[in-house]
Symmetry: C2
Subunit: 327 residues, 2 copies
């Protein structure tokens, strides 16, 4: 970390919002804001607006010349190439033609005149956790984000695992069910993400409601509208079927984590994302399943813990942590 430039900027790009913030060496977001990601169809207009917004914030805080780097977290972002590669939910044009392979880091670096590093959102979360959160001091851990999908960031020997092409850490897409597995958004079947995401929880609930006869508070809702939040609220209200949905989800996560531990033997697996709000409803069956499934030599070694980053700040914080190392 540079003492003469004691701040970084974190930018988290989602399909709806682009959030940004200025972060100090202790991980405090000293100021932040956001713009609508899809407002501009032309990529250069989007960059123009983002540059203007972030520059104004820096000026407003009196921090011109004190920013060491900019870190960006975005879906499908590649640390090695600095590009966002064929994103499913980001749609930008270059003079009316869709850009498949967006040179994000270089474009921003040129615009700001500040070093920029970019990686995918789950990797950014892992760096954030290592720099400011539950993974401080850990050299080997796995970050699992349980949101709409299941993302992962893997840290080994104190470094993010990028793999030979920059795309390592797709743990949402290990195959958990090889027969009659659920369809996954990636085009395959049986992926962890199809079961253990917020979407997966809602799918499990719908399956239970359709194939079982027992009473459930969830039967008061239109089947297709049920969300993981509904399942959580029913479970908290004591609904047995809803509780079993979390048992099933925790069980499959424990099975998956047992295999992850056989791979990289992490000190901890850290969970982040909306689904972790289910707390012990999810964590108890998860830990029990992990204990049942993990190889004896690893039993009791890797802790499964929750992220220590504030949810509102986490994405920006995680991205910003990359800024310290940006070149």
């Amino acid at each position: 970390m540079s003492l003469s430039k004691p701040y970084v900027v974190g930018i988290d790009i989602g399909g709806t919002n682009t959030a940004y913030g200025i972060v100090d060496t202790r991980g405090n977001v000293v100021a932040g804001g956001s713009i609508k990601t899809p407002k501009h169809v032309e990529f250069k207009d989007y960059v123009e607006q983002l540059h203007l917004a972030v520059t104004r914030l820096i000026e407003q805080e009196g921090l011109v010349g004190q920013i060491a780097g900019i870190g960006v977290g975005a879906p499908n972002a590649n640390f090695y190439t600095g590009r966002i590669e064929s994103p499913a939910n980001l749609f930008w044009m270059d003079n009316g033609k869709r850009i498949e392979n967006i040179p994000f880091a270089d474009t921003l670096k040129e615009k700001f005149g500040i070093p920029v590093a970019i990686t995918n959102d789950a990797n950014a979360a892992a760096v954030g956790e290592m720099t400011y959160g539950a993974a401080r001091g850990m050299k080997d851990f796995i970050m699992i984000t349980l949101g709409t999908g299941v993302g992962s960031g893997i840290v080994v020997n104190g470094q993010l695992l990028y793999g030979h092409d920059g795309f390592a850490g797709e743990l949402g897409h290990v195959t958990m069910r090889r027969n009659n597995g659920r369809m996954c958004g990636c085009g395959r079947t049986g992926c962890l993400e199809a079961y253990a995401s917020a979407t997966g929880v809602a799918r499990t609930a719908r399956e239970y409601l359709e194939t079982r006869k027992d009473a459930s508070l969830l039967r008061n809702l239109p089947l297709d509208d049920i969300t993981s939040k509904d399942v959580y609220e029913a479970a908290v209200a004591g609904d047995e079927l809803a509780r079993e949905v979390f048992e099933f989800t925790g069980n499959i996560l424990g099975e998956a984590f047992a295999d992850f531990i056989a791979f990289s033997s992490p000190k901890a697996i850290i969970l982040f994302g909306g689904l972790t709000k289910a707390g012990e409803l999810l964590m108890r069956p998860l830990r029990e399943s992990l204990d049942r499934n993990v190889m004896p030599i690893f039993r009791g070694k890797a802790q499964v813990i929750l992220s220590e980053l504030k949810e509102g700040d986490a994405a920006v914080l995680g991205a910003s942590a990359l800024g310290w190392e940006a070149k």
Copy 2:
């Protein structure tokens, strides 16, 4: 690599033999030998004999003072602690009492007065492949040893993945069949090793012979005596059932490799060990299964290739490569 000390010693410890060799900077085994591992029950007697044998070899080659380090590959060896931890098939005593946790690296270092590094046999094979074999120049690859069991050594960012406790890389024990999986030596069921090892191939053949009615050359052998070599020979002779055994084995390896790639996105998966002699009988179904099962963004990226190390030398070479970094 030290120019003043341009040789290393590699020691490969198996349950039956301890092989050793002196290796030059180009990966030539300039001289070698072996002793019987279980000849001495007392650990200090074994070390004494090993020290004598290796010292004589060094003297005989006129290389006294020219050995930069000693690298050791052994089952359950831990790079971090320098110990061989609770080995299943190594049995040594200290004054008549079994040693559970053998301080191998320290003992050898004291005896020889040369730096010693130790790791498990699959990790040693990975280092050997990176230093002298098919993985030269690769920073991200996975070594899979297909022998009596299934071992693995994982290299990321050019470094062996040891995990927080030194035991990472147990890829023979990811769960491939979650229902009615085969019993595995680790105490669990459905592990890759129970299917894709030499032992697993023989088990598959026995299952087919017991549950099917079709003719097979293997029916001429006593069921319990069938080995993977018998299955290979029958397959080469055109036996359909034997060929299907390799189809099944290749298929399950392809399924497993698809998940490994989602984890660390290696440039290559390198196969080593007796089972690889099956060649295309195994490799074709393996590659086809990998293509079917791998996530689209990784399709066609990771090559599955065979080790380039000579089989007789490989274990010693792999171990010796560690010697260059020993401290």
